[in-house]
């Protein structure tokens, strides 16, 4: 402990006495209120010097990776419903109903299913932070000398990691059974998966940070995840949809993800590639702001 001036007298305890001066603590920090600390002391956040602690981000990411690969059943189970859509609905709807000429309906919905996989993986991951809270793992991290931004970045990278791995699995399945994809298209799909999973993971983390119990999980899935998926146009052509559906879908981040994947894989989309990228960028920024704010308020639960 450097630079402490003034040895404090052995004063074991005073109760409720008048506020009394601290011996100066070396002057390496600023006093918030004047000498006696008499009034309300305002909480000053730590000066923003090391906003991001990269070692800590790495360690947090490593934890997520280890846990992800340890739960192999989860990796498979998260692919089940997308694969049902893809193979049962995709095949069941036949070949005559594809909105994009030259492609089957199954091929048409494949980009949408890819967005769905990212959506489900990322949002589930984000909501899992409630488990962290429940299991008190979060306590350890909240008590550590790292900024909330560091924690947030570690967490959202962890979510992206999971989503990218699921995307890779799905791209391989798709390339083998559904749609011919050259290596460039595969790479572009993976590249696009990064910002998409980022914004959805942040959304999940934001909600998860605010939720108190796992009971809310089902509600979020019913009232948020499925609507995000259905309104995104993953299963139909937005151009042919009823105007109110189109209007709602404009506010759905998944819409732009689906469209971007369609442009990459099928060569045509509803919006331009720049509209998609721009919208995704906006959602990324907004979800970062929301997430950092929610993590800042994340409190120790007693």
């Amino acid at each position: 402990m450097e630079g402490r001036q003034g040895t404090s007298p052995a004063c074991p305890l005073r109760m409720g006495g008048p506020a009394h001066n601290f011996p100066g603590a070396g002057g390496n920090h600023e006093r918030v209120s004047s000498p006696g600390y008499a009034g309300e002391v305002l909480w000053r956040p730590e000066p923003v010097k090391p906003m991001l602690n990269l070692n800590a981000v790495y360690a947090l990411l490593l934890r997520e990776a280890k846990i992800f690969f340890r739960e192999k059943e989860r990796i498979i189970s998260i692919l089940i419903s997308p694969l049902l859509f893809l193979f049962v609905m995709g095949k069941g709807m036949g070949t005559g109903t594809s909105p994009v000429p030259g492609y089957t309906y199954q091929q048409f919905i494949f980009p949408g299913i890819m967005a769905m996989v990212i959506l489900f993986t990322s949002i589930t991951y984000g909501l899992y932070i409630i488990w962290d809270k429940r299991l008190d793992f979060l306590k350890e991290v909240l008590a550590a000398p790292i900024s909330r931004a560091t924690l947030f970045v570690g967490k959202s990278l962890g979510g992206m990691l999971g989503a990218i791995i699921e995307t890779l699995l799905l791209v391989l399945i798709g390339a083998l059974f559904i749609i011919p994809l050259n290596p460039l298209k595969v790479l572009l799909c993976l590249a696009a998966a990064f910002p998409v999973s980022y914004m959805i993971t942040n959304l999940g983390l934001t909600i998860g940070a605010k939720m108190k119990s796992m009971e809310g999980f089902g509600l979020v899935m019913s009232f948020l995840t499925w609507p995000l998926f259905f309104f995104s146009g993953a299963l139909f052509d937005l151009g042919a949809a009823a105007p109110y559906i189109r209007a709602i879908s404009l506010f759905d981040p998944i819409t732009y993800a689906v469209d971007l994947f369609r442009i990459i894989m099928l060569g045509s989309g509803y919006f331009s590639v720049w509209t998609d990228l721009g919208a995704i960028a906006v959602f990324c920024l907004a979800s970062t702001a929301a997430g950092v704010a929610a993590f800042g308020k994340l409190q120790q639960e007693k």
């Binding site: 402990m1 450097e2 402490r4 040895t7 404090s8 052995a10 004063c11 074991p12 305890l13 005073r14 109760m15 409720g16 006495g17 506020a19 009394h20 601290f22 011996p23 603590a25 070396g26 920090h29 600023e30 006093r31 918030v32 600390y37 009034g39 309300e40 002391v41 305002l42 909480w43 000053r44 730590e46 602690n53 070692n55 800590a56 790495y58 360690a59 947090l60 490593l62 934890r63 280890k66 846990i67 340890r70 739960e71 299991l135 008190d136 793992f137 306590k139 350890e140 991290v141 909240l142 008590a143 550590a144 000398p145 790292i146 900024s147 409190q299 120790q300 007693k302």
Partner: protein
């Protein structure tokens, strides 16, 4: 130098004042026991010192850093073992310790050897690579203690470190705590509601009740304040002779035997027995911290709150506040 110095720390929640003006100073290397009933404010006080909860007013220097203005600096210098287990079930012990070391910014080269050292200290080396979910309660506790120590904190907070442990594990944790103090001169702040624990570990004990520290002293001095030891005698006892002895404070009959309050049973027991007459049975009960606690904390709860509340609804209201 003081490891911790608090200045009129107050934490108010909307309905209760959890910590109500605590000013205390804990010298370096001390084991300080914070003793109090559930809801007395122990955890809130510790949480404020560990910068997990913001004080409503007042402040504290922890390891020379201000909890209000330098929380990250405070955090780097302290270790915490929480009341509820907070090790990561899905990782192994080694991974838990690695994650912690990285979060606390330990130099990379030191991490591995420190992990081995800590695992050996808490005797978990042979299970270091098993997932924590396969651990028993005692093993988890030991792992948490290792985790709280690995970054060599100057101050270690232990919030009910032995809660829910079996007696053998409890004894093991105690001996770790003693070793720590001996080996590293770590300042240890320990909350507990086991009197035995506070008595055997703490250099000084603060009794906290309703957010205020109502007594603070060494275990021995606190016991002295409560006063007398009790000697139970059975036999043909000469009551009047006993009463005349200078060190006897009271003589009562209870369940067919005599309950005699004396000061310093250690020194005076022989004289008491010599004067007593024909004695068939002797039982000596020395003052324990339980008695101390009952005297300082227990009475106050009943005195100010329960007895003042008259009707049933007032009583319920009072009980609620007390429990919080």
């Amino acid at each position: 130098m003081a490891a911790i110095k608090t200045d009129n720390l107050i934490k108010r929640y909307t309905e209760v004042t959890a910590v109500d003006g605590v000013s205390l100073e804990i010298p370096e290397g001390e084991v300080f026991g914070l003793l109090g009933p559930n809801g007395a404010g122990k955890t809130t006080l510790i949480s404020m010192l560990a910068t997990l909860v913001r004080p409503t007013s007042g402040t504290a220097l922890v390891a020379g850093r201000d909890i209000n203005t330098q929380p990250l600096e405070v955090r780097r210098n302290i270790g915490i073992v929480f009341q509820e287990p907070s090790v990561d079930d899905l990782l192994t012990a080694r991974e838990n310790l690695y994650l912690h070391s990285m979060l606390y910014g330990m130099p990379r080269a030191e991490i591995s050897p420190e992990i081995e050292k800590m695992l050996a200290l808490v005797k978990l080396s042979d299970r270091a690579d098993s997932l924590v979910k396969t651990y028993s309660g005692g093993m988890r506790r030991r792992l948490e203690i290792a985790r709280g120590l690995i970054h060599s904190p100057k101050i270690l907070f232990l919030d009910e470190p032995t809660l829910g442990l079996d007696p053998a594990s409890r004894k093991a944790v105690w001996s770790h705590i003693r070793d720590l103090k001996a080996a590293h001169n770590t300042t240890i702040i320990l909350t507990t509601h086991y009197m035995e624990e506070a008595d055997s570990l703490a250099d000084r004990i603060g009794i906290i009740n309703k957010g205020r520290i109502i007594e603070l002293d060494t275990p021995a001095a606190l016991k002295k304040k409560v006063g007398q030891d009790l000697v139970f005698l059975k036999g043909a006892i000469d009551e009047t002779t006993l009463r005349a002895l200078p060190f006897v404070n009271s003589v009562e009959r209870e369940n067919g035997r005599y309950k005699i309050g004396i000061t310093n049973s250690g020194a005076n027991l022989q004289a008491l027995l010599n004067a007593g007459g024909r004695i068939d049975e002797v039982e000596v009960r020395r003052v324990t911290l339980d008695d101390v606690f009952l005297k300082f904390a227990g009475q106050q709860i009943s005195d100010d709150a329960e007895e003042k509340a008259e009707g049933i609804f007032e009583r319920i209201a009072v009980n609620r506040t007390i429990r919080k």
